[in-house]
Amino acid sequence: MKQTVYTIFVAFWACVLTILALDALTPSAQAGPDQSEKTSYTLDEVAEHDRLDDCWMAIEGKVYDFTDYIDQHPTPPALLEPWCGTEATEGMRTKGYGRDHSERAWQMAEQYLIGSLAEGE
């Protein structure tokens, strides 16, 4: 048992340090795509993208274009449609029944970030 625990202890640090080292050695991964192009949008602009084939959402001050993600979402697209073109923080935080999306879902959303919500919105 002692050897098993020690082996996993060493493997754990090897795994953690490998991921951190790879991340540190890959500068582009940190910069993220199209960072410079990000801009701010008003809720009116977001509201123009209110269809499943063109679906933007504003969540906690950020604007996302989820058009390419709709098909991958676990629930049927019809559940997402009402949120397209709207301020959808409530949907993201409650899933409609009081349960927040997972940390992983929040991280995944960052891939679809296109900008921020304009000040005062």
Binding site: L20, T26, R104
Partner: protein, 436 residues
């Protein structure tokens, strides 16, 4: 309840949270490899915390609580295994979550491992894990063999580690309906806190009995036998039990005020408690020079070595290694004192005649107990205890209940011999005095 079932029950309790988590898992959210890794990462977190809490619960040291589990040393073995699996699962937990995030991007994986400083929920989990690595490192000999007292001190970090792990869990847990989540973890957490509180608050005050050191008798140049006189209430115990002894001699060179486990070598019918102590470390070396009249505290009794300590109901085989003879000495004194007979075959394994402790008394007791046979096995002359030797001194080996107490290699060897002789595992009892 059989001891084995009691241990299975402990594992079953620890399995409740992960099983509920699996039952509530939405298969629709496990479509990609990343999502499956993510669910596995969360599952290892739930299972690891559950095992950690149950390990804390079974570390409670209430006299008598250990009996259904076949004694405290067997309960510790389960505690040790629960701790080992908890650490393994909790190491896998962040690693799997990071690999799951790697499905999105490398930076997502890295930020899972090193989140922003404001993410206190994640950092509380990290701190708990680092503390766990710290307090469990000596238990699994990560950096060599630990000293008993420093291991014990370091093991106290388990308290803050458990508290931080619970905080992390209450912050982030989403796998169960909120009411069930709160009810489940609160119950386990309360039991764990209760176990620790008992150990460090109640048992220190109410669980310890006061004794005076009445006699310090040298047995040979590395073993003394203490005679302890009760100051108030005397300990009630069985032959083969062990206790935690705390010595309070101001002139003790080491180990003053520390508690150490020792087997009682006296019969339960004696007024005094007797404890034979061999030099194994600094504290036990200092005991060899203990003064009579100093104060001592006893906590116990623990363990359940002999199935019928007061009489010999079935033929028995006893195998003792060195200082491991103490529970057998206690039972021989007990049986002889009560005039009991017994079909017992005791094989006392020592290095050489110079280390044959209690030799005269053992011979006298063996003569007084009708049916008792004593054989001394000298390692330097006969090598490791062999099946042939056992068969020659104890021909009806397979018909006996086996009791083994000695260093780990002897215990393991003897367990193999006993199994090979056809003694079922349920009739082989062993007690180890090496705790780590």
């Amino acid at each position: 309840m059989k001891a084995r079932n009691a241990h299975i029950l402990v594992w079953a309790v620890a399995a409740v949270p992960p099983v509920l988590f699996l039952a509530m898992l939405d298969p629709a959210q496990m479509q990609s490899p990343g999502e499956i890794l993510h669910a596995a990462g969360r599952l290892t977190g739930v299972a690891g915390l559950s095992l950690l809490l149950v390990a804390a619960i079974v570390s409670v040291r209430i006299p008598g609580f250990d009996r259904p589990f076949g004694g405290l040393t067997r309960l510790w073995r389960t505690h040790h295994l629960l701790g080992a699996w908890s650490l393994i699962l909790l190491l896998l937990h962040p690693a799997l979550l990071a690999l799951a995030a790697a499905d999105l991007s490398l930076s997502a994986a890295a930020s899972t491992l090193l989140p922003p400083w404001s993410d206190l929920a994640s950092w509380s989990g990290w701190l708990a894990l680092v503390l766990m690595m710290g307090f469990l490192a000596p238990s699994f000999s990560f950096f060599g063999r630990p000293r008993y007292e420093s291991w014990k001190r370091l093991h106290r970090l388990a308290g803050p580690a458990v508290a931080l792990a619970l905080l992390h869990n209450f912050w982030l847990s989403r796998g169960l309906p909120p009411w069930l989540d709160v009810a489940l973890w609160s119950t386990l957490a309360l039991l764990a806190v209760g176990a620790v509180a008992w150990r460090f608050v109640f048992s220190r005050r109410a669980g310890r009995l006061r004794y005076t050191v009445a006699e310090v008798r040298p047995v040979d140049n590395s073993v003394v036998e203490l005679g302890l006189e009760p100051v108030g209430r005397a300990l009630r115990h069985e032959a083969g039990n062990f206790v935690y002894l705390t010595l309070d001699d101001r002139e003790l060179a080491a180990g003053r005020g520390e508690e150490h486990p020792y087997t009682l070598s006296s019969s339960p019918d004696e007024k005094r408690l007797r404890i034979a102590i061999k030099v194994l470390g600094d504290a036990s070396r200092a005991v060899q020079f203990l003064r009579t009249g100093s104060r001592a505290h006893i906590e116990g009794p623990y363990g359940r070595f002999f199935l019928s300590p007061d009489r010999v109901e079935r033929p028995e085989l006893w195998v003792a290694g060195g200082i491991g003879v103490t529970p057998f000495l206690a039972r021989m004194r007990h049986l002889a004192g009560r005039g009991e007979s017994g079909n017992v075959c005791l094989v006392f394994c020592v290095q050489d005649p110079a280390r044959e402790i209690f030799s005269d008394e053992l011979r006298q007791l063996a003569e007084r107990i009708e049916g008792f046979r004593l054989h001394t096995h000298y390692f330097y002359r006969e090598g490791p205890l062999s099946m042939e030797y056992l068969a020659s001194v104890c021909p009806d080996l397979g018909e006996r209940d086996a009791y083994i107490c000695g260093p780990r290699p002897l215990n393991e060897l003897m367990r193999q011999h006993a199994a090979a002789a056809g003694i079922p595992a349920s009739r082989i009892q062993s007690e180890e005095f090496e705790l780590l």
